[in-house]
């Protein structure tokens, strides 16, 4: 294993300390490992929190700040955080207007957030939860844990965070988050595996000429392994299942999000975006907004994911609203 770390055990703690050192004007870290917006709690504002395993940076800690999350709970690498963290986050950001939990659909995340929500309610804090499950690579059936929460989570955090910043109440913010979930679909692929620091070796092996289609964001193997194809072919393999799933229709306007898994050059992401724009044009779908970069990653994995969100005026307005976080800033 070749990593820029001091020790696997201290990697997350040192990362958080570094974030505070770099972005102390925006965030602080409270026990037990919760990234909190520096001016939280804001009286009368709905608190918006999320959390999940570390290793997906900048998600979620990089999205804490004005116009996005009020707190984020980073777990160990690829491991959902513990209820104590979500309870501390909920308490820290509660300004009396309630707190929304944005939860990615993984068995562990669901259980730990549920336990925390119960504890917070017992302390008299109003809590609502929305589960993001946008990965079309997973069949949503009785025979799976349901679709994974992937790229759509970043979009939900931005849009919902803007609405909360604008003063929307808990019911409105919750409904908006559900609206994002209902209109967003994603799928990803990997060119290489990734190594969890504490494990020391790659989660899976991929041959030089192989790729994994339908990969999750934890290095969990995907749907199928196949021979490496061109960027155009790969973009088709990801875009078609997404377009057919919602389905996206002629005349729709979308936010087109091409995401890198951590180890992919932007050059390649733009090559994918180029093909994606052609596919969308062919389907009569217009690109209302675009978003390209490494925004929800899987450590050093090479690969990409595509996320499409069907836009309307409300979603577009909140996407465009000002945001100031360590990772995302515009309109300020």
């Amino acid at each position: 294993m070749k990593k820029l770390i001091n020790a696997p055990e201290s990697a997350v703690d040192e990362e958080l300390a570094g974030m505070v050192a770099a972005h102390g004007d925006l965030i602080r870290v409270i026990e037990p490992n919760v990234v909190v917006r520096v001016d939280a709690p804001r009286q009368g504002k709905v608190g918006v929190i999320s959390g999940g395993g570390s290793g997906h940076e900048p998600m979620h800690g990089g999205y804490v700040g004005m116009g996005m999350l009020d707190a984020a709970c980073p777990g160990a690498v690829f491991t959902s955080p513990v209820p104590d963290q979500m309870l501390a986050a909920t308490t820290a950001v509660n300004g009396g207007a309630g707190v929304l939990h944005i939860v990615k659909n993984y068995t562990g995340d669901i259980m730990n957030f549920e336990l925390a929500a119960e504890m917070a309610r017992a302390e008299g804090i109003e809590v609502s939860s929305v589960v993001i499950a946008d990965d079309v690579a997973v069949k949503d059936s009785l025979y799976t844990a349901g679709r994974r929460g992937v790229g759509g989570t970043v979009l939900a955090e931005k849009i919902v965070g803007a609405a909360a910043e604008a003063g929307a109440d808990l019911a409105t913010v919750t409904a908006l988050c559900q609206k994002v979930q209902d209109n967003v679909r994603s799928m990803g692929m990997a060119l290489t595996s990734c190594t969890v620091p504490a494990a020391g070796k790659p989660t899976f092996e991929l041959g030089e000429d192989e790729m994994e289609i339908g990969i999750g964001i934890h290095g969990e193997p995907g749907r199928t392994r196949m021979k490496l194809a061109t960027a155009d072919e790969i973009t088709e393999m990801l875009a078609m299942p997404i377009l057919d799933d919602l389905p996206f229709r002629q005349g729709d306007s979308v936010l087109a999000f091409v995401n890198g898994m951590g180890g992919t050059p932007l050059m390649e992401l733009y090559i994918v975006f180029n093909k994606l724009s052609q596919i969308l044009k062919g389907r009569g779908v217009s690109i209302g907004r675009s978003f390209v970069g490494n925004w929800i990653t899987s450590l050093e994995m090479a690969g990409c994911s595509i996320t499409l969100l069907r836009l309307d005026d409300e979603l577009t307005r909140f996407w465009d609203a000002p945001v100031k976080t360590p990772a995302l800033r515009w309109g300020i």
Binding site: A76, T79, A145, H218
Partner: protein
């Protein structure tokens, strides 16, 4: 404690310590199993939780079996994360509730506690037999322990049959297609791999049988 009919507070602490030591010894093995069909962290997370759990045991105020189990459960919920934290936390919390205030327990208590623990895990995880989860080791183990107790087997014999059934259940997860947890994303590709959760559950019950019959063993499972 061969031939004994009851399990003392010290025996309970010894079980927890043995399980922690087993998890440490099998950490890489569990993580390797999890790499095949999950996200490569089961051994790491369970080890972090069990080390935290055993560190708290010497500081507990009274020799209360239930309190020891509850302490382990609370610590696992607070330190493990993932699905394993709430699930193993529930196992020990339910064990603690079933044995609250007791200085020692017998095979009937273990039976009742295991029933409660499994019910708690099923409420939380909503899994059933054959879903390729920890329940595939725990359910046959519970049935074997019940049957052994009813047939009047000695404590040692009953625990041995429980561990044997857990091992068979664990091995039987290999051909199954996962329907719960991260392994379910793989669909048919999850077949051919032994379930990491069923494996750690077998190790847990094997540690009980070994500790409580005085024959500790560090043998690799599977």
């Amino acid at each position: 404690m061969s031939g004994a009919t009851s399990i003392s507070y010290d025996d309970v602490v010894a079980w927890i310590n043995t399980f922690a030591a087993t998890i440490r010894a099998q950490k890489d093995y569990l993580t390797a199993l999890d790499s095949a069909i999950g996200d490569a962290d089961h051994g790491i997370n369970m080890d972090r939780g069990m080390q935290a759990a055993i560190a708290k045991l010497p500081g507990l105020p009274a020799r209360d079996v239930g309190a020891a189990f509850k302490s382990v459960g609370m610590t696992l919920v607070s330190t493990v994360g993932g699905a394993s934290g709430p699930l193993y936390g529930t196992f020990f919390l339910q064990f603690g509730t079933a044995t609250a205030g007791r200085e020692s327990i017998g095979v009937d208590d273990v039976n009742r506690a295991l029933d409660a623990a499994i019910a708690g895990i099923q409420r939380l995880g909503k899994a059933e037999a054959g879903d390729k989860t920890m329940l595939d080791a725990l359910l046959p183990a519970r049935d074997a322990l019940h049957a052994a107790a009813e047939s009047g087997a000695s404590l040692e014999e009953a625990l041995a049959r429980m561990a044997e059934a857990a091992e068979q259940g664990m091995l039987a997860t290999t051909p199954l297609v996962a329907r719960k947890g991260r392994a379910s994303y793989l669909g048919e590709r999850s077949a051919g791999h032994q379930d990491p959760g069923a494996t750690s559950s077998y190790l847990l019950l094997k540690a009980a049988a070994d500790t409580w019959s005085g024959s500790a063993s560090g043998e690799a499972p599977g």
